[in-house]
């Protein structure tokens, strides 16, 4: 630790320098990171709020394993839809990472195609979430109450997953726009495909948030 903070450490030099602290990091990427940092605090506030109500309710908390179970071909499988949604989102992160690689290799056709695949997977995630919401609303889950237990289950569920779904939807639109621009050759003149990496940062962040929601809301 001491050497990190000594006068000639790279960290101290970067932060103490004029004009830019993040050497070699383009403003676009730095700003995306700072935006993601602020978004981290928003999602964390929701999750901490969820923790607070869940710790302080006297009624039993609904069993997510049962609430989100589906019966497929006669088999009752707990939490299956959420598991599928998780795998879809991870897969989309994989295709996004490959798109970044293709972008830097200046294979713009492949990069754009992989981004379209990523957006498609994202859209299917949102579709499944819409299905999940519909099912729960039909079963009588409301922000102010539900038939399974503590009333706060509904409000936190709609708030947390809704805000995340909104992020995925925005990400799909963002990816489609960037992919289209790549296809049209907007970045060919400069030859700089960092835009794919920046869009990728946002997309991976959406996946990252889902990791925490999956753990704390669905599995806990």
């Amino acid at each position: 630790m001491a050497h990190l903070l000594s006068e000639d450490s790279q960290l101290v030099k970067d932060w103490a320098s004029d004009q830019d602290a993040f050497k070699g990091v383009s403003w676009g990427k730095a700003m995306m990171w700072i935006f993601l940092l602020s978004d981290t605090f928003i999602f964390s506030s929701f999750l901490v709020g969820y923790m607070t109500v869940r710790m302080s309710v006297t009624e039993p908390w609904p069993n997510a394993s049962e609430v989100f179970a589906l019966t497929i071909a006669g088999h009752h499988i707990p939490l299956i839809l959420i598991a599928i949604m998780t795998f879809i989102l991870i897969t989309s992160s994989g295709t996004m990472a490959m798109a970044v690689n293709m972008g830097y290799a200046r294979k713009r056709k492949q990069a754009a195609r992989l981004m379209f695949v990523t957006a498609l997977l994202g859209a299917s995630f949102v579709g499944m979430q819409a299905f999940e919401w519909t099912k729960l609303i039909e079963e009588g889950v409301r922000p102010w109450g539900n038939p399974f237990g503590a009333a706060q289950f509904g409000s936190t569920f709609f708030m947390v997953t809704g805000f995340h779904g909104l992020h995925v939807s925005a990400g799909v639109i963002y990816l489609l726009i960037v992919a289209r621009k790549i296809q049209l050759g907007h970045y060919e003149k400069e030859g700089n495909y960092q835009i794919v990496e920046i869009a990728g940062l946002y997309w991976h962040f959406v996946d990252l948030v889902w990791v925490f929601i999956f753990a704390f809301f669905y599995l806990w």
Binding site: G24, V48, M51, M55, S56, S93, G94, V100, F214, A215
Partner: protein, 115 residues
């Protein structure tokens, strides 16, 4: 990058995040395995501290892999890593405070509802 050209170019070369697809695929497989494991925690109906510990471990491993490799954090300069990864630690204070608050609330509720 309006500073001296030589420096700008050098640092830019340093910073294009070009990494082999094979590495991404390996991380992808790892994330799949970790997700399957965390789903199994629920499927096997593990309960109590074992369940919570496993959930947290798998969650942190997945989050770490995504941030480090997919988001390229492990190849960034310390100045950026510290600026982004240190501030969220403040949240631990919020979590602690709210846990104390929730504890107080539920005790008051038991008191009032007479349970």
């Amino acid at each position: 990058m309006s500073t001296s050209n030589a420096l700008g170019q050098e640092s830019q070369e340093h910073n294009t995040q070009e990494h082999p697809i094979g590495l991404y695929l390996k991380i992808w497989v790892l994330l799949f395995v970790l997700s399957t494991l965390s789903y199994m925690v629920d499927y096997m109906q593990l309960q109590g501290y074992l369940r919570w510990t496993l959930i947290i471990i798998f969650m942190l491993l997945k989050a770490g892999l995504i941030v480090a490799v997919f988001m390229h954090m492990m190849w960034e300069r310390l100045a950026l890593i510290y600026a982004i990864l240190l501030p969220p630690l403040c949240l631990l204070v919020l979590i602690g405070l709210m846990a104390i608050e929730a504890d107080y609330t539920i005790l008051m509720r038991y008191d009032f509802f007479g349970r």
